[in-house]
C-alpha cells in the first residue's frame, strides 16, 4: 500500500481570510511568535501497489485539474508519504 500526498495552497496574491483569522487567534492563546498564517489543503491519495513515477505524475495532474482551482490555488508539493 502506497500513499501520495498532494499539498494545495492559496496563491500568494490571493488574500487568505481563514489564515488571517487563525493568525489573529494565535497571540490570544499565547503564540505570539508567528507573524502570519496561510491555510491550505493536504490530500492523501492511496494506491494498492508501490508509488511509481507514473503515479506521482498522475497525482500531480489530478492536483492541477481537480484538487486545486488554478485561479485561486497552487499545487505546491506532490510526494510519496513513506511513513
Amino acid at each position: 500500500m502506497g500513499r501520495v500526498v498532494v499539498d494545495v495552497m492559496p496563491k500568494p496574491e490571493i488574500l487568505d481570510p481563514q489564515g488571517k483569522a487563525v493568525a489573529g487567534a494565535l497571540p490570544r492563546l499565547g503564540f505570539g511568535q508567528f507573524a502570519s498564517v496561510r491555510q491550505g489543503k493536504r490530500f492523501e491519495l492511496e494506491v494498492d501497489g508501490p508509488v511509481t513515477e507514473e503515479l506521482l505524475a498522475a497525482a500531480r495532474a489530478a492536483g492541477e485539474q481537480v484538487l486545486s482551482n488554478p485561479v485561486i490555488e497552487d499545487v505546491v508539493a506532490v510526494y510519496e508519504d513513506k511513513a
Binding site: P10, E13, I14, L15, P17, Q18, L67, N69, V71, I72
Partner: protein
Amino acid sequence: MTRVGVVTFPGTLDDRDAARAVRLAGAEPVALWHGEADLKNVDAVVLPGGFSYGDYLRAGAISRFAPVMGEIVEAAGKGLPVLGICNGFQVLTEAHLLPGSMIKNDHLHFVCREQVLSVENADTAWTRDYSAGQHITVPLKNQDGQYVADEATLDELEGEGRVVFRYVGWNPNGSRRDIAGISNAAGNVVGLMPHPEHAVEAGFGPDGANGPRTGTDGLGFFTSVLHSLVG
C-alpha cells in the same frame, strides 16, 4: 410555452424558488437532474443556489463533473441562455463558462441581507428588461461570495462590458471591484452571487417602494430571458 430548466444537484437549496420565479414570469419550469445528461429540450437553464455536493473540495467544484453539466457547457457554447445564482455562479466558474472564482467572504461571516445592485449591462439574455444603471434590491446570502480574478481578467471584463452587476452602498464580501455578477462574451451566460429568485412576488420579497416585502426586482431576470427567446 417557453421551457426553462432548473437543475437540482445534491445539496441544492433554491431550486423550488427558482422554478416558482420561472412560473411567475410566464414560462414553464422543467426540473433537470444532475445525474442525467439530458436537458429535456429546454430553452434556457437556471443553476440555483445552495451547497451542491456539500461544497466539498471547493464550492461548485464537484458539480462541474455532473453528467448534466457536460450538456450545459456544450449548449451554452451554442447560445443557450444559462443563469447561475450563488452556488450556480460558483459552478459556472468551476466549469470555465465564466472566468474568476469565489473565495470566503473577506470578513469570514455568513451574510444574509437585502442588497442593492447596480445593473451595469442591460444587454444580456438575463438583464434586457432592466435599464443600464438601474438599481435593484434582492436578497444576498452566502459565505463564499468574494469574487476574485487576476487584474488582466478584471480589466478584460470591464473593457468588454461583462461586469453585469455591481454592489451598491456596501461591498458585502470583499469582491474585486465591487463585482456582484458577470457574463460570458456572448452575453448568454450570466452568473451572480445575490438571489433574484427570492424577489419575485409581493409578500415574500425584500422591502420595496410600496411597503414591507413588496419588492419584486428579481422578476426581471426571468422575464428578460423570455423576451430574449421570443424576440
